[in-house]
C-alpha cells in the first residue's frame, strides 16, 4: 500500500524538521520562563548550525570519523552559549530592550557566520559538504511496526535526544527547586529577590540554556538535513520555534506538540511532487505554507494570558 509507506515517511520527515524546532523552542522556554524574551533564537540557531558544520568538518579531517558529528553538536551548543551571553549581558546586566537586542543578535550571528564561512572556505559562501553526518538509527523490533515503526523508530539520534530533553525539561521546570525559582523569577522577580534568589543569576542561566539548546537546534539542521552551512540553512525556524513556544503555552509538552505541527507543514513540501493533485499547486505555495500556517495558528491562539507575567521587563530593584 502506497498510503502506508507515504504516511510512515511523512511522519519520519515531520520528526526530522520538528526536532530542530523543539530544541530551539525548549531553549526559548528556559529564557522566557525566566522573563527574558528571546527573539534572537534564530541567530542562536544560525551560530549553532555554522559551528556544527565547521567543527564536524574539521573533526572529520582530523580523522575522527563517525564521532565528528557529535563534536559538531557540542561545538554548536558552546557557540550558542557564547552568542546568548551577548544577549544576557545586554538585556540582564545592562537592561536593554530585549526585543531589540534579540533582533540585533540575529543580524550579528548571521553576519559573523557568513564572514567566517568565507574566510575559512576560500571565499565560498557555503561550507564544504560534510561526509560525516548523523544517520538514522532503527530501534530493534519497534521499527518493524507498520507506519509508526518507519515514522518514529527510525530516527536520527538528535530526535531521540530531543524527546529525552522534553521529558527532562518538564521534570526540571515543574518538579525541582531550580524550576520553581526560574518560574518565580519570570513571574514576579521582586518576590524572588526578596527571598534571596538572585534574579540575575537565574536569568543568565535561562538565557544561556536557550543559547545551548537553540545551538543544538541549528546543528540538527546542518547534521541531519543540509550537510553544510549557508546563509539560508536556518530560514525562519527560530521564529517558528517562538511561535511554537507561544502556542504551546510555555510548556515543554505543549511546545513539542506545536513544533511537530509546524514540522509537518515543512515536511509537506517534500511530498508535493508525489501526488497528482499536489503537482498542480505551485511549489511556492508549499514554500509559503509553514510561514502562513504559523501566522494563522498565532492569530487563532487566544491571548497571551499564559505568558510569564514579567516577560520582557528588565528587573530593576530600585523600581520595585
Amino acid at each position: 500500500m502506497q498510503f502506508i509507506e507515504v504516511s510512515g515517511q511523512l511522519i519520519n520527515i515531520t520528526l526530522v524538521f520538528s526536532t530542530a524546532l523543539i530544541f530551539a523552542a525548549l531553549g526559548g522556554m528556559f529564557s522566557e520562563r525566566s522573563g527574558v524574551v528571546n527573539i534572537g533564537l534564530e541567530g542562536l540557531m544560525v551560530s549553532g548550525a555554522f559551528a556544527a558544520a565547521v567543527a564536524t568538518d574539521y573533526a572529520t579531517q582530523a580523522g575522527l570519523g563517525s564521532i565528528s558529528p557529535w563534536i559538531g553538536l557540542i561545538a554548536a551548543a558552546v557557540f550558542g552559549v557564547v552568542f546568548s551571553l551577548l544577549h544576557a549581558v545586554a538585556t540582564i546586566t545592562f537592561k536593554s530592550d530585549q526585543t531589540v537586542v534579540g533582533v540585533v543578535i540575529n543580524i550579528l550571528a548571521l553576519g559573523t557566520a557568513i564572514y567566517f564561512t568565507r574566510s575559512l572556505y576560500d571565499g565560498s559562501a557555503q561550507t564544504s559538504q560534510l561526509t560525516e553526518v548523523f544517520h538514522k538509527v532503527a530501534i530493534p523490533f519497534l521499527s518493524e511496526i507498520p507506519i509508526i515503526g518507519e515514522g518514529i523508530f527510525r530516527a536520527y539520534p538528535t530526535t531521540y535526544i530531543v524527546i529525552l530533553l522534553v521529558i527532562i525539561s518538564y521534570f526540571v521546570l515543574f518538579k525541582t527547586p531550580f524550576g520553581l525559582r526560574l518560574r518565580a523569577v519570570g513571574e514576579h522577580p521582586s518576590s524572588a529577590d526578596t527571598v534571596g534568589i538572585s534574579v540575575t543569576k537565574y536569568r543568565y542561566i535561562g538565557v544561556m540554556l536557550s543559547g545551548a539548546l537553540a545551538g543544538l537546534g541549528g546543528a540538527t539542521i546542518t547534521l541531519t538535513t543540509t550537510s553544510s552551512f549557508a546563509h539560508n540553512t536556518v530560514s525562519g525556524q527560530g521564529f517558528i520555534a517562538l511561535a511554537a513556544l507561544i502556542f504551546g503555552k510555555w510548556n515543554p509538552l505543549g511546545l513539542a506538540g506545536a513544533a511537530i505541527f509546524f514540522g509537518f507543514a515543512q515536511a509537506l513540501r517534500n511530498f508535493a511532487q508525489l501526488f497528482d493533485f499536489s503537482k498542480q499547486i505551485p511549489t511556492e505555495v508549499f514554500y509559503m505554507l509553514p510561514y502562513v500556517l504559523t501566522l494563522i495558528v498565532l492569530a487563532a491562539a487566544v491571548g497571551r494570558s499564559s505568558a510569564p507575567s514579567a516577560l520582557g521587563q528588565p528587573y530593576d530593584p530600585a523600581r520595585r
Binding site: 521534570f171 520553581l180 518565580a184 521582586s190 518576590s191 524572588a192 527571598v195
Partner: protein, 520 residues
C-alpha cells in the same frame, strides 16, 4: 538555618536593631539623612511619616535591598553589612511588603518555601513542605490553605502568606510596610491580633505607616520621620494623635475641608444594572446601580478589586458593558466611545496617573490637551496649533499652581503632587458636569492632599456632580455627601456620611454579615 539566639547576643540596651547615622541619597534627593533608629526585643515600633518621607527607603536598607551611602547597621549588638535580602534573612529579619511579593500562579506553599525548598532527591518534597507550612500557621494562628493558588485567595490571606514566609525563614524581626492599606476593617482587627501574638512570642516588630490610628492602637514606641530626618522617637503612651500629626507634617494640620450642607440638584449621572464580564469569565460588575446629583459628592467605599475600577471604565467608555445603562444628564451614553463621553461633560481623574492620566514622555503642554487635542481650538487643518496648546498650559499651570521648570518639561520630571495637579487642572478646565475622581490622593503628601480635597469640594459647591472612589475611609468621610459600599461588582449598602460607623462599614465591605472577613 541560623536562628538568632537569646539575650546573650544582645548589648546592654536590649536593642535587636540599631541603625546609626544612616544616609541614603538618590539623584536629586536625600531620602535618609543620618537617621538613628533603635528596635528593642519584643516591642512593636512604628515608623511614622508621610508618603515620600523616607520610611520605606530606611526599611529597604535594613532588609538589604538598598545599600546606605553612610552609616552603620548593628544587629543583636554586632555591626553588619546587609548586602542583600538573603543576608537579611540569615540575620533573622523578615519583611511583609506593602505590595505583596507573591507569585500569583503559585500555591501558598510554593510561595512560602520558595528559595528554601525541602527536597527529596532532586524533587521538591511538597508533602513535607505542606506539613511545615501547616505547623507554623497553626502555631501563630495564621489561617491559610496551603494548596490554594495565591491568585484565588483573599487579600487578607495573601498577607498572612507573606507573614508566614518570614516566619518559615526563622525571622525574629518582622517589618510590616503599610500593612493595612488594602485590608477591610475586620481584617485590620485580625492583623492587630496577629501582630500582638508575634510580639508576645518574642518577635520584634517594625510597622511602617502614615496612619495615626494604627500607631496608637498597635505600637509601643513611635519614631516620626519627615523629609528623610528623624524628628522624634516617643512612647505611644506619652503622645497623642494630634501631636504625632503635627510632628509628621511639621505644622498644625487641619484635616477637615469645610463641608457645608447644601441641597443636591438634578440627577447628572444615572447608572442602572451594569453587567460586565471580566477576563476570567467572572462577572466583575454584577448589577451596579446608583445616581449622582449635581452639587453632591457621592463616595464609593470598598476593598480594592471589587469592581470599582471596572465601574469607572464602564462609565467613561474605556470598557464595554454587556448589560445595563449609563446616562448623563438624561442622555444614554452606555458603551459610547471615551471621546464622546468625555465631550458630553465628564472629567476623569484616573486611579493610576502614570498608566492612564499622563503620557510621561510627553511635554507638560502636550499632556494638557490629552483629551481635547482634536477640538478646533487646537488647530483646524489637521495640524496642531502649538500656540493655543502653550497658552492654555501656561494659564492652567498658573491657576492650579503646578510647580514645574517650564511648560515644555516632560511630565515624568514632575513630582507626584504636581502631576496630579496637572491632571485635575486639565479635567476641570473641560468644565464638566460630572467629575470622576478615583483614589485622587494616593501617594501624595499632606499639602497636595489638602489641595486636591479643596478643589473637589469647590467643584461640588459650584454645582458639579462628583463621583469619588476611594479606599481611604478618612477621605470618603471628609468629602462625601453620601457613601455606598461596593462589594463583588455591586453596591451593597449605604452608610451615613455624617455619622461614622466603622463597624457597619467594615461588615459591608466584607460582604455584609461574615465576621471573619473571609470571602469565599
Amino acid at each position: 538555618m541560623w536562628i538568632p539566639g537569646d539575650d546573650e547576643c544582645m548589648d546592654q540596651s536590649g536593642a535587636v536593631v540599631e541603625l546609626k547615622g544612616i544616609t541614603k541619597r538618590f539623584p536629586g534627593l536625600v531620602a535618609n539623612d543620618s537617621i538613628n533608629f533603635e528596635l528593642k526585643k519584643g516591642e512593636v515600633h512604628a515608623l511614622l511619616g508621610e508618603n515620600g518621607a523616607g520610611k520605606s527607603t530606611l526599611m529597604n536598607i535594613l532588609f538589604g535591598l538598598y545599600q546606605p551611602d553612610e552609616g552603620e547597621i548593628w544587629i543583636n549588638g554586632e555591626q553588619t553589612v546587609i548586602d542583600g535580602a538573603s543576608k537579611a534573612i540569615e540575620l533573622g529579619i523578615g519583611m511583609v511588603h506593602q505590595h505583596f511579593k507573591l507569585v500569583q500562579p503559585f500555591t501558598v506553599t510554593e510561595n512560602i518555601v520558595l528559595g528554601n525548598e525541602p527536597k527529596k532527591g532532586l524533587k521538591i518534597d511538597y508533602k513535607l513542605a505542606n506539613e511545615k507550612v501547616k505547623t507554623i500557621s497553626e502555631r501563630y494562628g495564621l489561617k491559610v490553605d496551603p494548596q490554594m493558588r495565591v491568585q484565588d485567595i483573599t487579600v487578607g490571606m495573601q498577607q498572612r502568606v507573606e507573614i508566614l514566609k518570614t516566619l518559615y525563614r526563622g525571622a525574629e524581626i518582622v517589618i510590616f510596610d503599610e500593612p493595612t492599606a488594602v485590608l477591610t476593617v475586620q481584617e485590620i482587627e485580625e492583623l492587630i491580633e496577629i501582630i500582638r501574638n508575634l510580639a508576645a512570642e518574642g518577635k520584634s516588630i517594625i510597622i511602617i505607616t502614615h496612619k495615626l490610628k494604627e500607631v496608637m492602637a498597635l505600637a509601643n514606641t513611635v519614631t516620626v520621620i519627615r523629609r528623610g530626618k528623624v524628628i522624634r522617637t516617643v512612647s505611644t503612651s506619652e503622645t497623642s494623635e494630634r501631636q504625632l500629626a503635627e510632628l509628621m507634617v511639621g505644622r498644625d494640620v487641619n484635616f477637615q475641608v469645610e463641608k457645608t450642607k447644601r441641597p443636591p440638584g438634578d440627577i447628572v449621572l444615572s447608572v442602572e444594572g451594569l453587567q460586565m464580564k471580566g477576563d476570567q469569565g467572572k462577572m466583575v460588575l454584577d448589577g451596579t446601580s446608583f445616581k449622582v446629583r449635581s452639587g453632591e459628592i457621592f463616595g464609593i467605599a470598598g476593598v480594592d478589586g471589587n469592581g470599582q475600577s471596572e465601574l469607572i471604565y464602564a462609565i467613561t467608555g474605556m470598557r464595554k458593558v454587556q448589560d445595563g445603562q449609563v446616562s448623563l444628564n438624561g442622555n444614554d451614553i452606555t458603551n459610547d466611545t471615551p471621546r464622546k463621553i468625555s465631550t458630553a461633560g465628564v472629567g476623569h481623574i484616573p486611579e493610576d496617573r502614570h498608566k492612564h492620566g499622563l503620557v510621561l514622555d510627553f511635554k507638560l503642554s502636550e499632556n494638557m490637551i490629552l483629551n481635547t487635542y482634536f477640538k478646533p481650538e487646537y488647530g483646524k487643518s489637521g495640524l496642531i496649533d502649538e500656540k493655543a496648546m502653550d497658552s492654555v498650559t501656561t494659564r492652567l499651570v498658573e491657576e492650579f499652581d503646578v510647580r514645574t521648570s517650564g511648560i515644555y518639561t516632560h511630565a515624568r520630571a514632575l513630582s507626584g503632587g504636581n502631576q496630579q495637579k496637572a491632571i485635575i487642572a486639565r479635567e476641570l478646565n473641560k468644565d464638566p458636569d460630572l467629575i470622576i475622581a478615583v483614589q485622587p490622593t494616593r501617594g501624595l503628601d499632606i499639602g497636595a492632599i489638602e489641595f486636591v480635597h479643596k478643589r473637589l469640594m469647590d467643584a461640588r459647591n459650584e454645582g458639579k456632580a462628583v463621583l469619588l472612589v476611594s479606599f481611604e475611609l478618612d477621605e470618603l468621610y471628609a468629602l462625601s455627601d453620601r457613601i455606598e459600599v461596593m462589594y463583588e461588582g455591586k453596591l451593597v449598602g449605604e452608610v451615613d456620611a455624617d455619622q461614622r460607623d466603622d463597624e457597619r462599614l467594615g461588615l459591608l465591605m466584607a460582604g455584609n454579615t461574615d465576621h471573619d472577613g473571609e470571602r469565599s
